[in-house]
């Protein structure tokens, strides 16, 4: 079952702006009975912003070893074993790209851009082992990451991607609400980031569609559909759970990885 990407994600990938209206109508029709069910249940209601949208404000972090390898992997020194986060566990590389991935794996401890503390790309920024804070307004869902002071603006103000192509480490994110799911369309990537330490990679044609949806008030389902016709034979999906930090004194700190080697000169 996990090998089949979710129907909704595939539909949204193919939808043009003109057709989105129809899609929204469909979504409303389907959402109505679900909403009624939620109201009759005894579960506590989800956090909602003043505009009625789900309110993702707060501190979040994954619990997974996906930053080292997004596929099923054995333990290595200093790296926990882990179940993969890729639907079906297989990544549909084109033949040349499968060879390149293998080469990346052999050189991973020097070649992974994350070793140099570069911005880690999307979706990897989500499953780095560092917390992030979501600050939400009606115009944007702002995601502030502890890791190398990265930040992303997921614009929900109806704006389109700027004329491109633009080479960005974290891409350009334009989002909309699909019922209670935040759907973020991300393009304008460079070809410099990897999906993990194991050498899984992409080109600058990478297109990611992220879906953020509450499982309950303290857990968000994060799903990413990955499309890159230069590297893969078809779109594929990965998913992780975002856990809310409940510690009363929790706050974002910092991890400026590239600065550690110079700290001695700036006492």
């Amino acid at each position: 079952m996990p090998e089949t990407p979710s129907l909704l994600a595939l539909i949204s990938l193919r939808f043009t702006h003109a057709r989105r209206v129809h899609f929204l109508l469909l979504a409303i029709v389907f959402a109505l009975p679900m909403h009624a069910t939620a109201q009759t249940s005894s579960e506590p209601s989800l956090p909602r912003a003043a505009d009625g949208k789900p309110d993702f404000s707060g501190f979040w972090q994954v619990i997974t070893s996906a930053n080292w390898d997004i596929q099923d992997h054995s333990a290595q020194k200093g790296i926990p074993a882990g179940r993969g986060i890729v639907a079906g566990n297989e990544i549909p590389y084109q033949p040349w790209a499968a060879a390149k991935k293998k080469e990346n794996y052999e050189n991973r401890n020097t070649a992974d851009p994350e070793i140099k503390s570069y911005l880690p790309g999307v979706p990897r920024i989500t499953y780095t082992p560092f917390p992030f804070q979501i600050v939400q307004t009606p115009q944007q869902v702002l995601v502030l990451y502890e890791y190398v002071h990265a930040s992303r603006h997921l614009y929900t103000n109806g704006s389109d991607h700027p004329p491109g192509h633009i080479d960005w480490w974290l891409g350009d994110s334009r989002a909309h609400w699909d019922g209670d799911t935040l759907v973020s369309d991300v393009i304008d990537f460079n070809d410099q980031t990897w999906f993990d330490r194991a050498g899984n990679f992409h080109s600058d044609a990478l297109h990611v569609v992220e879906r953020y949806k509450f499982l309950d008030a303290d857990h968000i389902s994060y799903e990413a559909t990955v499309e890159d016709p230069k590297v893969f034979t078809r779109p594929w999906q990965l998913s992780v759970v975002l856990y809310r930090h409940k510690e009363k004194t929790f706050q974002l700190l910092d991890y400026e990885g590239y600065a550690f080697d110079y700290e001695q000169y700036y006492p």
Binding site: V135, L170, Q251, Y262, Y265
Partner: protein, 315 residues
């Protein structure tokens, strides 16, 4: 040939690096003003303008802003580092430079940071090597893509203020820096935890946002000429919206290990991108593009020869 690699070449390299950082276009956009002759930004205002209040009751500071004047070359003579090469050439041509009004408003009218003698010596040494760096520590922290620490970010680039219940968030164009200021009245983090941007706690006093900063790792400097504080610094910033287009800014520095007395800087932020409603802060990946900071370092004997040659030229 090595002697040919002189101060001007280093200065031009420095200029290239600093001009790569997105010094905002606020200086051009801002209403014409003459900071060297204008009134002190800390002068009390008689303006009765009242900011609107979003639903959670905070006075509204939201939008894009930029300091006037901008630039982090020297807090006591504010300007950007981008014009350094031209400035050196003008000085060598015999033009006397008139300093701009210092951001330091207390002590007044001195406009200088009240350093203890060891600290003054250190700052002078850093300033002396800005064009002829001979050691890694001579390279300005901004050229290394370090986070800006206390106050510097406001003068480095334009920025956006976002307010949500319980927080004021600052988003800077330069180096894509961010600051999250909680308004919950909680205590600072413990002594053993030092942070590049420090630990900020905010509260409102009327229409003034007061931000208390401690736990600075103090590895960032205040400007390119080496003005600095230590990790025992206690900084208090005050942002007051005095009219629709202006925020008055003040920051006091208390650091008994570096200064002889507390001192205060002041500034003015004006609305930015008013004619560009679609303006967005875009990714500024500084470290990812940084290639040459250490290549500015030259051998000490070359720096000495350069300094002597410069004296000859100036005569």
């Amino acid at each position: 040939m090595r002697i040919r690699f002189n101060a001007l070449m280093v200065a031009s390299l420095t200029t290239v690096i600093f001009s790569l950082t997105p010094m905002s276009s606020f200086a051009q956009q801002a209403p014409a003003s003459s900071p060297s002759t204008g009134q002190s930004p800390s002068a009390p205002t008689t303006n009765k303008w009242t900011p609107s209040r979003p639903p959670d009751g905070q006075p509204d500071l939201q939008g894009f802003w930029g300091a006037v004047p901008s630039g982090t070359f020297d807090v006591t003579d504010p300007r950007t580092g981008g014009g350094r090469l031209d400035e050196l050439l003008r000085i060598r041509a015999g033009n006397v430079r008139v300093p701009k009004a210092s951001r330091v408003v207390d002590p007044d009218p001195d406009g200088k940071i009240p350093y203890q003698s060891w600290a003054a010596t250190k700052q002078k040494d850093l300033e002396a090597h800005i064009d002829d760096p001979t050691k890694p520590e001579h390279i300005d922290t901004q050229a290394r893509c370090f986070l800006d620490g206390a106050t510097r970010g406001f003068f480095h680039s334009g920025f956006e203020i976002v307010q949500v219940p319980g927080y004021v968030v600052f988003l800077f164009d330069g180096n894509s820096e961010t600051r999250v200021v909680p308004l919950d009245g909680g205590p600072h983090v413990g002594k053993g935890l030092q942070l590049w941007m420090g630990d900020s706690r905010g509260h409102w006093e009327g229409n003034t946002l007061v931000i208390d900063i401690t736990n600075l790792n103090a590895k960032a400097r205040l400007d390119m000429v080496g003005n600095f504080y230590s990790s025992s610094a206690h900084v208090v910033e005050r942002l007051t919206r005095v009219d629709a287009k202006t925020i008055r800014y003040e920051a006091s520095f208390d650091d008994p290990t570096v200064y002889t007395r507390p001192w205060k800087m002041a500034g003015r932020f004006v609305s930015g991108h008013v004619n560009d409603p679609g303006y967005e802060i875009w990714e500024d990946a500084c470290h990812e593009g940084e290639r040459s900071a250490d290549r500015m370092i030259i051998p000490a004997n070359v720096a000495k020869e350069n300094a002597e040659r410069a004296k000859t030229i100036q005569k």
